[in-house]
């Protein structure tokens, strides 16, 4: 097991180096006469490599989950979701998708690891964007749910296959390949989200709609929040 983890870490580093170089090369372009089309290409190169770097970093984190390095602490759900939507706003607009955000939670803090929760929401939203058609929207909602806070991401893409829904219902996804669930996906993002959710003792799942899918994570309200 330890050898496997070390292998993942080495592979992640090997993958990250060329991605970082690609990103840096794109940023290094000096256009004598800036053309909008070239700027678009540059932005896309930077954006694609940044997303890939993020996934490689998440894989590294998965390899380190067993070391218990990720502290659980009171985390502001809205702040995390705000960070993610700010980060992905450009990508949604660039791909002609709408990102609709609705916060109706009163509980402010949950017990989670900020970085891991950020990755879960990020991967849910990226997945939603990928499966939503042009000019359609994805919805990010935060709701109170008894002693938990629920973050859900709804897309209007193809329905989730039954076997994957069952895996999500069970609480976690064993391996990314089995989630070739929807066309054009390796399922890596959902696998990462599933692993991180499990580490944070959060409920994770999916709801099948006739016109799409919602993925959600439920996190316990931080007891420290009651002090305020």
């Amino acid at each position: 097991m330890e050898q496997e983890v070390n292998g993942i870490l080495v592979a992640a580093h090997e993958l990250k180096a060329p991605l970082s170089v690609l990103r840096q090369l794109a940023l290094s372009f000096d256009f004598e006469e800036p053309a909008p089309s070239l700027e678009h290409i540059r932005s896309e190169m930077v954006s694609v490599s940044e997303r890939a770097i993020k996934q490689v970093n998440d894989l590294t984190k998965i390899a380190r989950l067993e070391d218990g390095l990720f502290t659980m602490e009171p985390v502001s759900v809205r702040a995390v979701c705000d960070d993610v939507t700010r980060e992905l706003d450009y990508l949604f607009r660039y791909n002609k998708r709408e990102l609709f955000v609705k916060y109706s939670n009163k509980a402010k803090l949950v017990t989670a690891n900020r970085d891991l929760l950020h990755s879960v929401v990020y991967n849910f939203l990226l997945n939603a964007m990928h499966y939503s058609g042009e000019e359609t929207r994805s919805e990010l909602c935060i709701n109170d749910c008894h002693d938990k806070v629920k973050i859900s991401v709804r897309d209007f893409g193809p329905a989730l296959p039954m076997d994957v829904w069952r895996e999500m219902k069970r609480g976690w996804i064993k391996k990314p390949t089995s989630i070739a669930m929807r066309p054009g996906s390796s399922g890596l993002g959902l696998y990462i989200a599933s692993k991180f959710s499990r580490y944070m003792n959060a409920n994770v799942g999916a709801v099948r709609h006739r016109d799409g899918t919602s993925f959600f994570i439920e996190l316990p309200v931080s007891t420290q929040a009651r002090l305020f």
Binding site: S20, V21, L27, I53
Partner: protein
């Protein structure tokens, strides 16, 4: 003169371009240490994972000589060094290869 020490040739070239000043690029710590005998740079951009002796070995070498101990160093790495005690070295900044920009690189040069 600014030194860039990185075993990734293209990354080193990207940093050198962003610096917009005269630079010398080294692919390993040993050749960079040798070059210090001839010239003391104003600033060094240093990668940590290098072929042969790593960036920390280079930092120790630098700190051990009076004339090089005060050279400002910017660490450029994809490793998380936030928990490493760098107080004994003259590290003026840390840039992550994951998200650094040419502007951030240039900012350190402008501060010299």
């Amino acid at each position: 003169m600014i030194f860039v020490i990185d075993d990734d040739e293209i990354m080193a070239e990207c940093i050198a371009r962003a610096v917009k000043k005269e630079t010398k690029v080294f692919s390993n710590a040993i050749t960079a240490i040798s070059a210090l005998n001839d010239e003391v740079p104003e600033l060094i951009f240093l990668d940590i994972l290098l072929d042969g002796p790593d960036g920390f070995t280079f930092l120790n070498e630098l700190a051990s000589y009076q004339d090089t101990a005060k050279i400002p160093i910017v660490i450029v790495t994809s490793l998380d060094v936030s928990n490493v005690d760098l107080s004994q070295y003259n590290v003026v900044g840390i840039l992550s290869k994951d998200n650094m920009t040419p502007q951030e690189i240039k900012k350190y040069v402008d501060q010299i």
